[in-house]
Symmetry: C2
């Protein structure tokens, strides 16, 4: 039996491993830096205190348990040696017959990594709970603040990036300030919260149809979000966000702009595109390395002259395609090329508001919102999570409340050390 | 209207604030270091991945919202000046007509605070998720370990302290290793996990009847827990736990032994007992300071010649008693002294197993377990939490699974810095 090494337990890697395990013709090893698969599309809900981390994450070994032919390891992958067919990790050097790289991407600060400290991105549970901590803490500090000016500063939020994540974060911030927190604070008026969404391009949601971008902007402004397009962020410091020469004073900036593929790519020594993604063949393999595949955000795949976007459905379909290719190899049949079936895209703006498009069809408002709800709950891995997320949402919908409004120190040690106070 | 300042949003302070708010005869300010009230009795469930933090914690301002006469502030209380009637915090100096101190307690390492790093206690959500991280990580590291000896080391857990918390932690560890993780790990046999519960006294659960202690020990051993009584821990290092001269090699020790009342007590300059608790009068006030009250773990209250234990019901009843006293003051009536109504005590050992006693009546096994379940779900604050905790448990009960098995870095920065790997 050939040994297939899968790196990454995201949508691409997990779906590849699941399909290969079912095929029962391979030995599979999957390695991830985390013990859990994360349902990225709902991560902003954790950042906005709507869901708990456990509701959108499941241990990878639980998802794959029961498959005798699968081994799961927690570990960091440092580099790949294509000639030796080995992968170096923090715990061992792993050999492979087939290698499937699905390491995903992290946020790109366009060469300004120093911005991250004052404008965290949203890719991991740690970042989500950190964003939650910063947002909720800003209101707590404003409540006990006596100077109106400082209160205004603390109640100003800036979201950088007008893609789906930025839109969803800004929309949720608008709703929290207007509904969830309104009745809980007495010294401040949470409704006066200022939320600015900055997009460098001409419109929000550039991958959507123009009228949907316009509708998204309109629905955001209804929720108190100020949308700035064609404005470029030039610097982010502890004082705030600089747009051109202008400083927007804020203590809470969130980054939802560029992404950068895994740094493993550089170790491959193969052609990468401008963004650093590995340029793959029609079967998702690396040129001259038919035994190595790259999926999802990490790969540059051209389909009908278009490069596929870094979306969950792309990674899922590419992951599932792996088993077809490896089975073809076993049967000495030609490998089927991958073709992306575009199921459309959606972005939630808030209660009863979303935008979505499938081929020519477009959806807005409450219809799109219910579609969004159904699709996301359906795709959540694990029946329990689906059930619980649905209940959490039903509950928030009725009560306007948000169940996970906890401020937990970002570092356990700091808490230990500060234990003596009080 | 008199201004009542409540320090601490635990069982004592929160119940005092709620009752006083309802009375509508006072201005109330409540200050806590956290934004949430924590349902301590179920904290071990978070540490053992059975519940999510949000399921046992609710924002204090949400619980008290709607009361126009209550202000909630997030803040650290540093000291109290009884003569000036002021409280110094990290954000302002607060004045009071009445002061209610309910700051609770933290873990005591009997003068060996250096043990904490290798044996965290269980008082906060941060500590609970940190314990969860350590326990789950130990299994992940064992799974990828090749030396049987190192695997044994990683699969050895030591719990120090045979009170309810220690018993509940050890019991849950036994069940996780035998049921939850068994099918998920292939390289190691999670059932071979070694769990040692160390109690310095002659028996577990010293506050319970002797036969219940014996039953608890028996039920724990059924779950693979080795119970050591009359054994004293002499040192805890990165190598393991020293009991007398003997070293138990372990990477995961948990501390559930002594507690130490809030360090605010020292700033009061009033008589404290040996453990550092404030000795209070029959109306819970400080001698010669009828305007200052101390509740819960922080107070030394003698009832019928017995000092009340640091239990939730004690703090709850003391908190609720406050309104009676302050109302009596308004009506110039004599203050009613506090009397504790002992509703009994319980400790859960695991599925279908608990011990409980009410006055003369004793309960064990599945009966006690269902009582424990009912009581704890009932007392959980917030209907949503009750519902969700009940569902989480029903689910775990059916599936033997644990929903919150996430390893999240204890520090966000470390994650940011390690992002480039993989």
């Amino acid at each position: 039996m050939k040994h297939v090494l899968v790196v990454g337990g995201g949508f691409g890697g997990l779906n590849a491993a699941k399909a290969l395990a079912k095929a029962n013709k391979f030995k599979i090893t999957i390695v991830d830096r985390r013990n859990h698969h994360l349902f990225q599309p709902l991560l902003y809900q954790v950042a906005m205190a709507g869901l708990s981390p456990a509701e959108i994450a499941t241990p990878i070994r639980t998802i794959l348990s029961g498959n005798k032919n699968v081994k799961v390891f927690l570990g960091n992958v440092h580099s790949v040696d294509l000639s030796k067919k080995t992968v170096t990790t923090d715990f061992a050097t792993l050999f492979y017959d087939y290698l499937i790289l699905a390491c995903g991407s992290k946020h790109s600060y366009f060469g300004h990594d120093e911005w991250e400290e004052n404008a965290p991105g949203l890719k991991t549970l740690e970042q989500a709970t950190e964003i939650r901590r910063r947002v909720l803490l800003a209101y707590e500090l404003a409540e006990r603040e006596t100077s109106a000016e400082k209160q205004k500063l603390l109640q100003t939020f800036v979201v950088v990036g007008g893609g789906p994540t930025g839109v969803e974060l800004a929309g949720a911030l608008g709703e929290i300030s207007r509904f969830t927190l309104a009745k809980d604070f007495t010294a401040i008026d949470s409704k006066s919260t200022r939320i600015i969404l900055i997009e460098a391009g001409p419109r929000l949601l550039p991958s959507f149809a123009e009228d949907l971008s316009a509708r998204a902007a309109k629905d955001l402004e209804k929720r108190g979000v100020t949308v700035w397009t064609n404005r470029r962020v030039t610097n982010i410091t502890a004082d705030g966000v600089y747009v051109g020469e202008e400083l927007i004073p804020t203590k809470t900036a969130l980054w939802a702009a560029g992404v950068l593929p895994s740094s493993v790519n550089k170790t491959l020594k193969v052609p990468l595109d401008k963004q650093g993604r590995v340029i793959v063949e029609s079967d998702l393999s690396i040129k001259n390395h038919p035994e190595v595949f790259v999926l999802g955000d990490q790969a540059h795949f051209e389909d009908k002259g278009e490069v596929l976007p870094g979306l969950a459905p792309v990674a899922i379909q590419q992951g599932r395609h792996m088993v077809k290719i490896l089975k073809a190899d076993i049967d000495n049949k030609p490998r089927p090329s991958f073709h992306y079936v575009d199921k459309g895209q959606m972005a939630a703006i808030g209660r009863k508001s979303a935008v979505g498009q499938m081929n020519k069809a477009k959806f807005v408002g409450i219809v799109a919102w219910f579609m969004w709800l159904a699709v996301h709950i359906y795709y959540l891995i694990g029946f329990k999570n689906r059930l619980f997320v649905f209940l959490s949402w039903a509950w928030s919908y009725i009560t306007f409340g948000r169940g996970a409004r906890l401020i937990v120190s970002k570092e356990w040690r700091t808490h230990v050390l500060s234990k003596n106070s009080k």
